[in-house]
């Protein structure tokens, strides 16, 4: 009997999955129905056939309406790229083969439409699920998702709802379809855990956008957890603990508190300026790719946009973007970020990102080849359309423009010549624009860094693009995993080049920004600050932390740290030194760093 009593006390189970969205959630499990809708089979007579077809068409139309509504809502709340998931659903709905197959089977087999539709759907799902290719298997979830929606509209079952959800539920499910995830609002759902899925699955992407911790790919979580079980979900490390012991619970409550405190502090930082304790002010800006990203820049308290990548316009399409389309995007970004600045980088195609519509021949060394400003100068038709769009938008806010991958003053002059031609055209057309729009060069080629004294005389600002600068100065292909260990932002050669660019910029009284990954590496913030950097531009999420570091240190202290960093002979020594100093000066941020 004692045994019996013991077994009623639930045993702690710990599962390891794939971390999909960071953070800790502690709450009650809500096992989300995996029950399939199984239609009741029924024979039908010849005269019922046309009625069943009508029912099918109505269900399709109804589903279409639902999918469009979700797409609109998600695009608005989470950005267009999330909404586009649902566009694939529409294609399935409109598929003539699927519809024809259902109708002809219905006529032949004379069974109710639910039964027929489920049969056809299952046939597709089973073939696709056995596909070798992972990408293809991922499409199964799209088809299942929309297929179930159609079935539900046929059967008239209730939508899988969030009714009966406890407050602070952790959703446990085999898989979550995009439309499931879309229904979950922040507040009641505090975490997701699923059996399947990867880091880039829809669930993971959505969870990250909703800022809800998630762990995916747990394989057997739905077998282990019962409704109402207590669950700890650690989305940072990909761990789920079911029915935790008191010891674990205490540990995670403490950990969670710590994270929350840090977050709260970072939120407070949003409105505070990024200046050192001795009042040296720097700018902490955000990098964006889409106009939609502006929201994140603002919500993380970034002071402007230090890098607006414009390649997006050229992706996923078969024609070139028009001047008008670009103008509208630049204008909307300029208006929303006002009074702060936006640095628009002109088209930076090439290397690993060439697009079909441009018909660029394959090259032996694409990263050393026809790319970025080199490409733009060779295609003034494309380049001038973009310059026109930027100039026109400059009448509506504080725009700056920046050329990528300048390797010497010749290219800069050529680009500026085209720019003045465009300005002249606009003047003739009596179109408004900022005639003094600041023009900058992106310093990402060693030759540009070394001749930055010359370049500085001909531009209004520099922005150091460290991803390429590191790749070129260390001769390390940044997508080659075999030599990834050589890719070192703290390599003394890189630090010296950065210093040189900053010093040369300052000698000509122009500000120097840094907009590569390195700007977001918080262990290097103090060194970069000490080298005299004027602006950090990074992924918006890193903005509050960088501000916090800037505000924790004096400029004199930072300069000392930078000077010391320059004396080391290896990147590893610099890295260790930087982490150690950060740990001393801003201990609570460094805790996160050490994990």
């Amino acid at each position: 009997m004692a045994d019996n009593k013991k077994s009623s006390k639930k045993k702690q189970i710990q599962l390891k999955g794939i971390p999909a969205a960071p953070g800790i959630a502690i709450g009650k499990a809500h096992v989300f129905g995996t029950e399939d809708m199984i239609p009741q089979e029924r024979k039908i007579s010849e005269s019922e056939v046309s009625g069943e077809i009508d029912r099918f068409k109505r269900a399709l139309a109804e589903t279409r309406k639902e999918v469009l509504a979700i797409e609109r809502r998600i695009s608005k709340e989470m950005g267009v790229e999330h909404g586009s998931i649902f566009r694939a659903h529409l294609l399935v709905l409109e598929d003539s083969v699927l519809v024809q197959e259902v109708i002809s089977r219905l006529k032949k087999r004379k069974k109710n439409i639910e039964t027929i539709f489920a049969e056809v759907l299952n046939k597709y799902i089973s073939v696709l699920s056995s596909a070798k290719d992972e990408y293809l298997r991922d499409r199964v979830s799209d088809i299942t998702d929309v297929g179930k929606r159609i079935l539900r509209n046929l059967i008239g079952a209730e939508e899988r709802s969030m009714e009966g959800l406890h407050d602070k539920s952790i959703i446990i499910s085999y898989d979550l379809s995009p439309s499931d995830t879309a229904m979950m609002h922040k507040g009641r759902v505090i975490g997701f855990a699923t059996d399947i899925g990867g880091r880039t699955s829809h669930t993971a992407i959505m969870a990250k956008s909703l800022e809800i911790p998630a762990v995916v790919g747990l394989e057997s979580i739905t077998d282990v957890v019962k409704n109402g079980d207590q669950v700890i979900l650690d989305g940072t490390h990909g761990v789920v603990i079911v029915n935790p012991t008191k010891r674990f619970l205490d540990k995670y409550h403490k950990e969670k508190k710590k994270l929350e405190n840090l977050e709260k502090e970072l939120v407070e930082l949003k409105t505070l300026p990024s200046e050192t304790t001795d009042n040296k002010k720097v700018t902490v800006a955000g990098n964006i790719e889409l106009p939609e990203d502006v929201a994140s820049v603002i919500s993380h308290g970034a002071e402007g946009i230090g890098l607006y990548r414009t390649e997006y316009f050229y992706m996923n399409r078969r024609d070139l973007p028009s001047e008008e389309e670009q103008f509208n995007a630049y204008k909307s970004v300029a208006l929303r970020i006002k009074p702060h600045c936006v640095v628009i980088r002109t088209l930076d195609l090439g290397g690993d990102k060439f697009l079909s519509q441009l018909e660029v021949p394959r090259e032996m060394n694409p990263f050393l080849g026809w790319r970025a400003i080199r490409f733009c100068l060779a295609r003034p038709d494309i380049f001038k359309a973009q310059l026109r769009a930027i100039l026109r938008a400059s009448a509506f806010g504080n725009l700056k423009l920046m050329y990528p991958m300048i390797s010497g003053v010749g290219e800069l002059r050529q680009a500026n010549m085209l720019l003045s031609e465009v300005k002249e055209d606009l003047r003739k057309e009596k179109v408004k624009f900022n005639k003094d729009i600041p023009v900058g060069a992106m310093i990402e080629v060693p030759s540009a860094a070394i001749t930055s004294d010359v370049l500085a005389k001909e531009v209004d600002f520099f922005s150091i693009g460290t991803n390429d600068l590191i790749q070129y100065s260390l001769a390390v292909d940044r997508v080659n995993e075999k030599i990834a260990y050589l890719y070192e932002p703290t390599h003394p050669a890189v630090l010296n080049l950065i210093k040189q660019v900053i010093d040369n910029g300052h000698s000509e009284n122009i500000p120097v920004a840094l907009c590569g990954e390195m700007a977001g590496d918080i262990s290097l913030t103090m060194i970069l600050l000490g080298l005299g950097l004027d602006e950090f531009s990074t992924s918006p999420i890193a903005v509050p932390e960088i501000k916090k570091i800037v505000r924790s240190i004096s400029y004199d202290q930072a300069k000392e740290i930078a000077e010391k960093a320059l004396t080391f002979s290896t990147g590893k020594e610099v890295q260790d030194f930087a982490r150690k100093r950060l740990l001393e000066i801003v201990p609570d941020i460094a805790i996160e760093l050490s994990e």
Partner: protein, 91 residues
């Protein structure tokens, strides 16, 4: 008019997901009937389901058949999608 063209798929991810969706959208612009044949399987080129079922991976041989007045144009444009190896998600 019937135009047939045999093609080796070059897309990195084969003929699914985005390229398949693109293929269907383009195919639907044309009046011609469009069929894709791989091995002994034949599917309607205007159907996303059909194309996904082909599971044509990179390097597989497929034949595009277009039948109708605008067949020539259709095959030309559709061929490009299969030969194109852009991978826009990696930006």
């Amino acid at each position: 008019m019937e135009i047939r063209k045999e093609i080796v798929v070059k897309n990195k991810t084969g003929l699914h997901a985005r390229p398949a969706a693109l293929f269907v959208q383009i195919a639907n612009k044309y009046q011609s009937d469009i069929t894709i044949i791989k091995d002994d399987q034949e599917v309607n080129g205007k159907s996303i389901m059909g194309i996904l079922m082909l599971a044509a991976e990179k390097g597989s041989k497929v034949t595009i058949v277009a039948n109708g007045e605008d067949a020539e144009h259709a095959v030309k444009e559709l061929e490009e999608i299969l030969l194109n190896d852009m991978e826009p998600e990696k930006f």
